[in-house]
Amino acid sequence: MKAILSIVHKEFLQLRRDRRLFPLLFLSPILQLLLLGYAANLDVRNIPAVVCDQDGSAASREFIAGFLNSGYFSVRARVGRLEAIDAYLDRGLASTAFVIPRGFGDDLAGGRPGKVMIIADGVESQTATIGVNYSTMIAKRYAQRLLLERLERVQGRGGIRPVQVDARVRVWYNPELKSRNFMIPGVLGLILMVMTIALASMGIVREKEAGTMEQLIVTPIRPHQLIVGKLLPFVLIGLVEAAFVLAVAAFWFVVPVRGSLGLILLACLAFMLNTLGFGLLISTISRTQQQAIFTAIFFIMPMILLGGFVIPIESMPPFFQAVSRAIPTRYFFTMIRGLMIRGAGWPEIWDQMLPLAALGAFVLSLSIARFRKKLD
């Protein structure tokens, strides 16, 4: 215990004197939050659209107005013939086209489903998907309103079946489809991961390079004391970091933090057990800081991608879904999104928390087992 405390104390002294730490700790997360919160915002606004209104009825004009007023689309051109649309899509002048066929107004008036065609440029699949989602939503809202109007109009007359719609909005918890609400909790995980892996992966190898490791391993300090002593200060830094990012998320980006702070903290701790254990493992097997950095980067990429930072786990091929079970970020991303946005509680997250903690304990034990008090 004395040995662990000595190491913890020494690490804190060194961290305090490290001039790069403070900017790394507070400026870099702000930068990442701004970048990923604003620039990499997946919200799509002003999608350039072409309108081909072949019907020209009051109903079709109203329908189109509904799209334009949503703010998600802006009209680049109005064309008469269907073939004219190609030119805009081909040249990239528009990425969506709305086609209202002749008879749309009559169909609606006659109680038949109105047909609308939406063409999306699939090259930018993200935008296309989001664009189509928006369109469907807007169309449904329109249908809903139509239904309400229709019902009002038929009141008293009875008998007429309303337009068939299923107007339930599919996107729960994030009704405006705000991708920021999806991204920011992920960014918290990302920052925490990069920061703690970076700190820990330097933790041991830096001493090897400086030559202090030789003096350290000639003392009776035991491997677990050294690893734990190195780990504890980083855990504290990680928690400060998490709290800081959470505060920026909540107060600057106004992302909801609905779940209990205690559980969020616990999730961060379980996650850091992994990232720090992993960083220290890299550090013990590397000979130089450069090696450690490259090894860390090599593993960080799949952790981000397979962990479901951008691509949801459910939409991955089954093989990668299976692989992702061994990846701590997967559990953390799922948990933190649930905790922050849905206000999930223990019953909803325990099945993520346990594997995450188990994985962390495993990685940490591995790094203790791999640490040799020898020079070669």
Partner: protein, 321 residues
Amino acid sequence: MPANAVEVKSLSKRFGAFTAVDAVSFSVEKGEIFGFLGANGAGKSTTIRMLCALLDPTSGTASVGGFDIRREPEKVKRSIGYMSQRFSLYDDLTVAENIRFFGGAYGLNRGTVASRLPWVLEMAGLRGREGSLARTLSVGWKQRLALGCAVLHEPGIVFLDEPTGGVDPASRRRFWELINGLSEQGMTIFVTTHYLDEAEYCNDIRLIHAGRIVAGGSPTELKTAAIRHPILEVACDRPVEALEILQKEPWVVDTSIFGLSLHVGVGEEAEGRRLLADRLGRAGIAVRRVDRIMPSLEDVFIHEIETNAAPGPAAAGEAKP
């Protein structure tokens, strides 16, 4: 506990195909200052690291403080102090923080550390500088601080790997006074160096060359027993040219250059003087003075290396007479 602090039996270390330490055997008596001498790359650090249980030997055995370096590495570590060749304290910690940290690492409690702290500061001459970052100290101070940290827990044996590398003679002398002080307290000192003059401070010496021990004994023993032929100090013109000429002569045992003069080992003094004057005279080199001198350790060292240059079984193993 056995009488010997260190007992080494045909210890070897290979790095791939390269043999850095080749079947060395020796023992270090308790309480003595044991000097391990050798040129760069001779295998001094590799040997010391094996004895500190920092490197596993390829073959052979050794015990340190009565503990086997292979089977009981942690017990070895608890009973020794070690100062590595590179300065390896924390540059970004202060003098006092370094001392406290290593105290804690050796499991000393606060009280003990607090009582040892002034002693280390005093010894290293760092009183009043306990708040300075180690980075800001000059090399001599750093070395004394490192020594202080290595003996903080009062080990029975301390291993010092070239503790005086790269400092001026005054600092070296000061450091050796510290070593003597520790020795008087009963500590066994195992020290490596490539400064031959420092070997004079040791009770017992081994010369190591290319991983093998080529000579051993006390400084006096080495000088009288290891070199049985007279050494002539020759003051002459163009010493480098003279050296090259003499090296080719069959009657010259070995030669080396010392400043402006030559040291020439010969078979017999009178005969040697005659042949020397004759040969250099023929080469047109004026000889000003020829004196028979007591061999210095350097002469011994050069002699041993030259006679052992062709590796043979005779060079290996216990070399103590």
